[in-house]
Symmetry: C2
Subunit: 584 residues, 2 copies
């Protein structure tokens, strides 16, 4: 080893020890006859001291060190006179007696400190330098730890990690596949898996009983802000289980992660129906760090001559505790917020509960104080609270708008603390989603999702009302995972295909392979998958998944550091039997 | 849960408990008024009993169960009168009181037992049924355990698992890449990584210090028997290390695996130079479970008029202990073995040490007993031993032939026990390999491999003699892992490129990206990679890696179960700007 200690481990008890460190120069500074160097590695920063009086030649060499030089130094650990309480190693420094420059460094294109002057593009191009910054590296350390604890928990629970292939076949539904031309099978293509869904169900047919895999998945989609063409799932499946068994195991896994990584003991996760989530939060992934539930106000506010409300299909309000002090300017800004095209509300009504208990609203000319007091009661509002109300022709759209307003108010009132975690399960998703465009039902999850058995009779009479044995885990308004109990009964599967409008031939062509496997004795089974990238970013308190990925791609799917994708040789195209025909 | 117990856990102490099991029917048999069913899951097999006298209707239903039906049964655990010592659950059986058929099964195409009637092709097509066989599933359980223990050990040693991207760029050297057309960057292609070599070196530049990853790698090569287009590596890299540091950490990892998985405490691994390995075993991956080292016999056997030896560039022998009793027929078979075209020897000379100490050889007419006694002495042979001798014009070729003969003798004499493990490091590989065809040197590992510093002066004068800081771990004649210390000094790297005959422009074009990153302060670093598939198959005592892969591909790179690769839609080709031009 080029070192006896790392830059993160020296403490007062090491004083007088002779140590050797090898690491990077973070910065140097001259003070009086001394030169100080902050030496940095993954484990921390340690201060080196060079004294011009005791060793002028060595000190002179230290004065010529550049940022990011790689050093090997030997010296004696000494107590600092001016201690740095912000550094774990801040009580000591090293009086250097020998220095060996292991490598020089040209000046980096941005400063390698938590606060950097490098813009996004530059840092992506030099990602290997960006990764030197402690704040970036810590996210990947967290990722390692989370993946490790996931494996430890699932191993203890009897799950086997099984690697499924990356070179598979094109799947019949879902997003666009990335494909890989096969040289040995000319004209044919592998597809990269969007998820190992089919293969994990096959493993259940194989009797693997409890499977998981932390696995790369691929989707060739037009990338939105927080999407990556390759992403990582914690993919799981269990046999002989009902919905509660799956929820219990994975609630346990999540608690395990919070316990061992955040040192937090979480209470049991509430289970909220999809219906309630939509009703009270206008979202299937409600942020429950704060309450501010929707109150439906159709009974309270309709019929008083305010045309907007009188004609509305939905009127709903939220109560922002203690926000009655909002100024006109702040309220106008909120109105502008909900009227933005991305949200699309027509307007916003507000009502303040004043110190004397009276309610003052923006639509006072339509409502008597008596009605406003009923509003206050319905909203469970108190003195000092602010009531915000949206309405509209379309129940679901208006709820979504109110959801955005609720989240915005939560942010403004500081109710969305990144160090607070509120976890819940959303259950009883609808089995089908009606497509207005195609005038048909689609499977909300996928066609193998089991309906709740008590709802099976509704498959014919009222498919839209059928609830699925499907579930999502939501933390702080983020869907971190989701899954379902699968159909293992071939007659029910047949029925499901009928409801989705597949002919027998079509079902056979699209799903025949899995259905055929099921004929050899499929166990009841179900599972779920977590998005690891998002899960880690949630733990890290980050908004973007990009920061928890070592080498992410940009929104055009490019790795700007590697400069991938790129051109390949004609000879390779020839071998693959391919010709490029890019249309202008 | 559909069960209260698994099929593997019931013992005598559970007698009289009421339990529920859910699993597959392995087989049924009628005896007297009883019907017995072996119920199988991942955890074991439990015997069910149906009694025609106590419940005729239930027993009748049991008589109609088919193989591989999925059952849920409830019953009382009872002690068996006829115990089965071969089964952990063999002391008990379940007197079934309720039975629910969870799923029926059509007759599987082969019997799902350790001894099966299914051929390779059939089992690959129905791999999900093949995986039900305990002997196949056990390999994947072992794989899970090994991967888990690798992670546990490396985590304890401060290694971070970092996921590197799968969609990367084409690498300048090595085997053929699989490529992935980019829809968003028309005419351009990603490549799938042959290994994360570049990225792990970048992570060292980033200061990650200790990296590992269990990662899928891809090579589009014409597949030989034991190759897969996608395979899994345990990929590792460390900073501020010398060769010994790497060897110690990974010798520790291997011992950890043997300890926790095989319950074996291994002695320290010998370190053998590549030169000695070639000299004594004719191979850089010697099987050291048995000795039988080569003895060079040029001095002993040359100059006695036997033209074959007199003109040979190499004469070498091995001593097969106790094999003097080999018959003429056996010896002829060995001669045929070494003369097979794959081995290519011209012939074989043998000499028996007889009970009286006399040596009797196949070339007695050329050699006196006195010379033969010198041979015996040189070979360290004793009464009852058999000496086998090969010779040839080409030292290396003859050694390889002798290596094959040695391995064959080891097998014939039962010296290659799959439950015995002999581990060693091969070190001091040559840095360069001379290509007769191209009349130039190639890097034996890759162009970033560091020469031994004391050999640097030879780079100019005698490149072929330069030893690399490169190492392989060999177990039972299998190279399970290998790696090297990398060059971190840019001048030495420049020198290396010169030796390999690259112009500065060529070096820049091929390796500029990594070299550029190194300019920002590269630490001394090194690492290695294990082939997980081969490592697991070694632990499993298997000859093929296919059996430790859940869904392997065949020799044409096809997944016959998924029927991948396959045809894709014209619309997808259009989106990718590609046209298929398969030549007949």
């Amino acid at each position: 080893m080029y070192r006896t200690k790392t830059c993160g481990e020296l403490r007062l008890e090491n004083v007088n020890e002779i140590v050797t460190l090898s690491a990077w120069v973070q910065r140097t500074r001259k003070m009086g006859g001394m030169t100080f160097v902050d030496l940095r590695d993954r484990y921390g920063v340690t201060q080196l001291v060079f004294n011009n009086e005791t060793d002028a030649e060595l000190c002179e060499r230290a004065n010529h060190l550049g940022r990011e030089f790689v050093l090997q130094v030997t010296g004696c650990v000494a107590e600092r006179s001016a201690k740095n309480a912000n550094l774990p190693t801040g009580d000591v420094e090293i009086i250097v007696s020998e220095m060996n420059i292991l490598n020089e460094a040209v000046t980096p294109p941005f400063t390698i400190e938590d606060e950097t002057d490098g813009g996004d593009d530059l840092r992506m191009k030099y990602r290997y330098l960006d990764l030197r910054r402690a704040c970036v590296r810590k996210n990947l350390e967290l990722r390692h730890k989370m993946a490790f604890e996931v494996r430890r928990y699932l191993d203890e629970q009897g799950f086997l990690e099984v690697e499924t292939p990356v070179l598979v076949n094109s799947t019949p539904e879902g997003a666009r596949d990335f494909v890989v031309p096969s040289r040995m099978n000319p004209g044919q293509f592998y597809a990269l898996p969007q998820s190992p869904q089919t293969l994990k169900q096959l493993l259940m047919v194989s009797g693997f009983d409890r499977y998981f895999q932390i696995v790369k998945c691929f989707r060739d989609e037009d990338l939105r802000a927080d999407r990556q063409p390759e992403f990582t799932q914690i993919d799981c499946e269990m046999s002989f289980v009902e919905q509660d068994d799956v929820l219990n195991i994975f609630e346990g896994m999540t608690k395990h992660l919070f316990r061992y990584i955040k040192n937090l003991e979480l209470p049991d996760f509430p289970r909220m129906t999809w219906h309630d989530a939509m009703k009270y939060y206008g979202s299937d992934k409600p942020d429950t760090r704060f309450d501010m539930r929707f109150v439906e106000l159709m009974d309270v506010l309709k019929g008083y001559g305010f045309a907007v409300f009188d004609s509305a299909a939905y009127i709903g309000g939220i109560c922002a505790k203690g926000a009655a002090s909002y100024t006109r300017k702040q309220l106008d800004a909120l109105t502008d917020f909900v009227k933005r095209p991305q949200i699309g509300a027509k307007g916003m009504v507000y009502a303040r509960v004043e110190a004397d208990g009276n309610v003052k609203s923006s639509v006072d000319k339509f409502y008597s104080q008596e009605v406003l007091q009923q509003l206050k009661l319905a909203m469970n509002a108190e003195e000092g609270d602010l009531i915000l109300i949206l309405s509209g022709d379309d129940v679901n759209k208006t709820r979504k708008q109110l959801c955005e307003l609720r989240l915005e108010m939560g942010s403004q009132l500081g109710l969305r603390d990144k160090n607070k975690f509120s976890c819940l399960w959303i259950v009883d998703f609808p089995l089908f989603e009606w497509s207005e465009e195609d005038q048909r039902f689609y499977a909300m999850h996928h066609p193998f999702t089991s309906p709740r058995l008590e709802d099976v009779p509704l498959l014919d009479s009222n498919p839209g009302a059928v609830r699925a044995n499907a579930y999502d885990m939501v933390i702080n308004g983020v869907e971190v995972g989701g899954g379902s109990i699968r159909i293992h009964d071939s007659r029910l599967q047949q029925k499901m295909f009928e409801c989705l409008g597949f002919t027998q031939e079509e079902a056979e062509r699209r799903f025949g392979f899995l259905m055929n496997a099921f004929k050899f004795g499929a166990p009841p089974h179900g599972g779920l998958a977590y998005g690891l990238d998002r899960f880690v970013s949630l733990f890290a308190g980050l908004d973007s998944i990009r920061d928890v990925i070592a080498f992410p791609k940009n929104n055009s799917g490019r790795d700007v550091m590697l400069d991938a994708p790129g051109i390949i040789d004609q000879s390779q195209l020839d071998e693959l039997g391919l010709k490029i025909e890019v249309k202008e």
